[in-house]
């Protein structure tokens, strides 16, 4: 629960205010000596924190502050001296909220004062504290369910996903699933760093107590991967997964001699994927339209065996899939036309990331915590509109047409850092090796 309550006639607390209020459009003044406020509670057993955004009626030098005491029945929740606009944070005792469906508060404010006694205004209300909003949120999303292991920052069932970018993104997604919070956790271990440095970013004892360890094939050095296997405790299930690459969607890729790091500007290079047809046109001094036409003519004449290239990709993924514990070839083959499985040759698209997450979570350890349908529903919400990493390489029309890519449009824009380019923009910029700003 994370409830936002707004005071005032335009707010959402029409029946919450009892005696002692003067309600205006977007706020309400607590007036007189006491005010009554009743807020809804969810009736569960969790701990909650109540916050009030308030400001006092002050008229220096005579009235420099307002005192405010907040009580729930006989329980004193807090006592404050308010001199400026601020947010009061009030932890609510669990015994007060457990099973309760409402919280009845008494606000005691003994310093209420009349504006007309201090200013040339016709306002005789005895104003104390102006309430703008309130927020009722769980003190800790999973407080009562925590095991003692959580005191170290680790969940009862936890593990790591070691590797590079794909491993990191898998952990990001899994880490945001509320249904697993506090009970199942996967942490990212960056295999591009030395083991000691990478492990230092994990909570203490992670590697000694992890129950599952996923390793991205070919990420980091063989030594780092071997070292991690060695560190895994007895009983830890060590699994591997590939970070798949595809060649058939980008058949014109090729190294470009101009692709070198430019320190402080572009790393690994200005256009890191390269395009051999574009490179062949380097130095051609023609207007944009002519230059792009020349590129298109080259692309048309290029002998391409796209089916064979895709078959080769499939063979590679299947070969990768024999040894690891994550098989992706069939999934990619089924979805290559209907969904954006890749956004760049070595960058997974949203549907592939989801498939990989689901395979990581397809585990008895997870099913004990949350059912597949609960996980799937959360993934639907979390990944709505997700577009993948902002390193997208444009797909040529000939390729899109051959594979009947449903998501592809001739004028679609591809994101690279904070830039968006059509296929035409990308090709012209690559030919000219145009500078751009990240």
């Amino acid at each position: 629960m994370d409830a936002a309550y707004i005071f005032g006639t335009s707010g959402n607390l029409p029946t919450a205010l009892g005696a002692g209020w003067s309600v205006e459009d977007v706020f309400a003044w607590a007036i007189g000596a006491e005010s009554e406020l009743t807020l809804p509670l969810p009736g569960d057993g969790r701990a909650y924190v109540l916050r009030f955004d308030i400001h006092p009626a002050i008229y220096p030098p005579k009235v420099q502050h307002q005192r405010l005491v907040i009580r729930a029945g006989k329980t004193a929740l807090g006592s404050f001296e308010i001199t400026t606009r601020e947010t009061l944070v009030i932890p609510l005792p669990v015994k007060l909220t457990s099973g309760a469906e409402r919280l009845e508060l008494t606000l005691i404010h003994p310093d209420a004062t009349r504006p007309r006694d201090h200013l040339p205004v016709d306002d005789s209300r005895r104003l104390a504290v102006c309430f703008h909003s309130a927020n009722l949120a769980q003190a800790d999303a999973d407080g009562p369910r925590l095991s003692s292991a959580f005191a170290t920052g680790l969940e009862p069932v936890h593990g790591i996903i070691a590797g590079g970018g794909v491993a990191m993104r898998l952990c990001q997604v899994i880490g945001k699933l509320q249904c697993l919070k506090g009970r199942f956790g996967m942490r990212f271990l960056d295999l591009s760093q030395g083991m000691d440095k990478a492990a230092a970013s994990l909570p203490p004892e992670t590697l000694d107590t992890m129950q599952v360890c996923w390793m991205e094939l070919n990420a980091g050095t063989p030594g780092a991967r071997e070292s991690l296997r060695f560190r895994a405790p007895a009983g830890c299930s060590v699994r591997t997964f590939p970070a798949p690459m595809i060649r058939s969607l980008w058949p014109f890729l090729g190294p470009d001699g101009r692709a070198v790091p430019e320190p402080g500007r572009y790393h690994p290079s200005r256009y890191p994927y390269g395009d051999r047809l574009a490179q062949a046109l380097t130095g051609t001094n023609m207007p944009d339209d002519v230059l792009y036409l020349m590129y298109e003519m080259s692309a048309e004449q290029e002998p391409l065996e796209l089916d064979e290239m895709f078959a080769s990709d499939l063979r590679r993924w299947r070969a990768e899939g024999k040894k690891p514990n994550m098989a992706l070839a069939d999934f990619i083959e089924r979805h290559i036309s209907s969904s954006r499985v890749f956004v760049a040759p070595d960058r997974e698209g949203p549907v592939l990331l989801r498939e990989m997450v689901e395979q990581v979570l397809d585990d008895g350890l997870v099913r004990d915590v949350a059912g597949p349908e609960v996980v799937a529903a959360e993934l639907d919400g979390l990944l709505e509109g997700y577009i993948g990493v902002p390193e997208q390489v444009p797909v040529h029309e000939r390729v899109a047409s051959h594979f009947n890519l449903a998501w592809w449009k001739p004028d679609m824009k591809y994101r690279w850092a904070n830039n968006q380019r059509t296929h035409r923009d990308y090709i012209l910029d690559t030919i000219r090796w145009a500078q751009w700003r990240p």
Binding site: D2, A3, A4, Y5, I6, S10, G11, N12, V26, P40, R51, D53, T87, H132, S133, A134, N135, A137, Q172, V173, K176, Q178, G264, R265, G381, L382, L383, E384, G385, Y386, I387, G388, V389, P390, R415, N418, N419, Q420, R421, D425, D429, A434, Q435, W436, R437, P438
Partner: protein, 282 residues
């Protein structure tokens, strides 16, 4: 010895800095430094922005603020040597495009998730409704409470002109003439590359330390560097269709998607995520 342009501004200053740093014509001639006026602390002035930091500053690009001189601005002025020329420029801002920006207590508790509060979305957030019902209610309440947007625009224009009056670069007329036809704002304070490019070129043309030839080259590079750039679009707050209609925003596309970190959402998707304070990927 190196030479630096010091930019004192909000996050729009970072856009100027990055653009300057990528200009080939400036490489080896001028570096660009930025002091974020909205983040700088007393400790920063003492530790990061002392004599060493200021030693190579040859000009200052200072974003103005209407109102009094803040302690941070006074600290800046204390550090600028007398001979260093200053180009003063106004901030871009627009409140009329998001008339329901207001109180949402969830922002205070969790300021990074949805930092651009929507008071109506906050009000309806306590309802237990389906997505369709919730969105319908949001539309109904916002329609009922839509303020006088012409008045809001007049207030914005008055603020823009007040800032222009204390700056060397004027933005008010250009923004007023342009904002309906070209998207300039992603949020009330985050701008598109069109706005960044206009401002950068205005400043470069008034920067007295640059030779006319270098200024011309730099202005040309701005267009090249930013022609595909999206500006500060990591958080785009969608514009309410009724606001677009009332303000006659000709660039507005009701089916547009808006970037929110790693997502592209429609207006409806953004509003529902916001109301439910839903998590997302960065």
């Amino acid at each position: 010895m190196s030479h630096s342009v010091l930019i004192y501004a909000n996050c729009q200053g970072e856009e100027l800095q990055k653009t300057g740093q990528f200009m080939q014509c400036m490489a080896g001639r001028l570096d660009f430094k930025w002091i974020p006026l909205h983040l700088v602390t007393e400790e920063d002035w003492a530790k990061k922005y002392g004599g060493d930091f200021m030693a190579d500053v040859v000009t200052v690009w200072e974003q103005v603020e209407t109102g009094g001189v803040s302690p941070n601005r006074a600290a800046l002025h204390d550090r600028i040597p007398k001979h260093v020329p200053i180009v003063r420029f106004p901030p871009f801002s627009a409140t009329c495009l998001w008339p329901f920006a207001g109180n949402d207590p969830r922002v205070a508790r969790d300021p990074d998730r949805y930092p651009w509060p929507d008071s109506i979305a906050a009000v309806v957030s306590t309802e237990t409704l389906s997505d369709d019902e919730l969105f319908e209610k949001y539309l109904r309440v916002t329609t009922e409470r839509m303020p006088d947007l012409d008045r809001r625009l007049r207030l914005d224009v008055a603020r823009w002109k007040a800032a222009d009056a204390i700056a060397d670069v004027a933005l008010a007329d250009w923004v007023e003439e342009t904002f309906r036809s070209v998207k300039l704002f992603y949020t009330s304070g985050h701008v598109t590359a069109t706005a960044v490019a206009f401002l950068m070129k205005q400043i470069l043309s008034r920067c007295s330390i640059l030779s006319p030839a270098l200024a011309r080259a730099a202005i040309g590079e701005v267009d090249i560097l930013l022609r595909r750039h999206t500006g500060q679009d990591f958080e785009c707050v969608p514009i309410h269709p009724m606001v677009a209609g009332r303000l006659n925003l000709r660039f507005f596309d009701p089916n547009a998607t808006y970037r929110w970190h790693a997502h592209d959402w429609t207006f409806r998707e953004y509003i529902l995520h916001y109301i439910r304070w839903a998590d997302y990927l960065k």
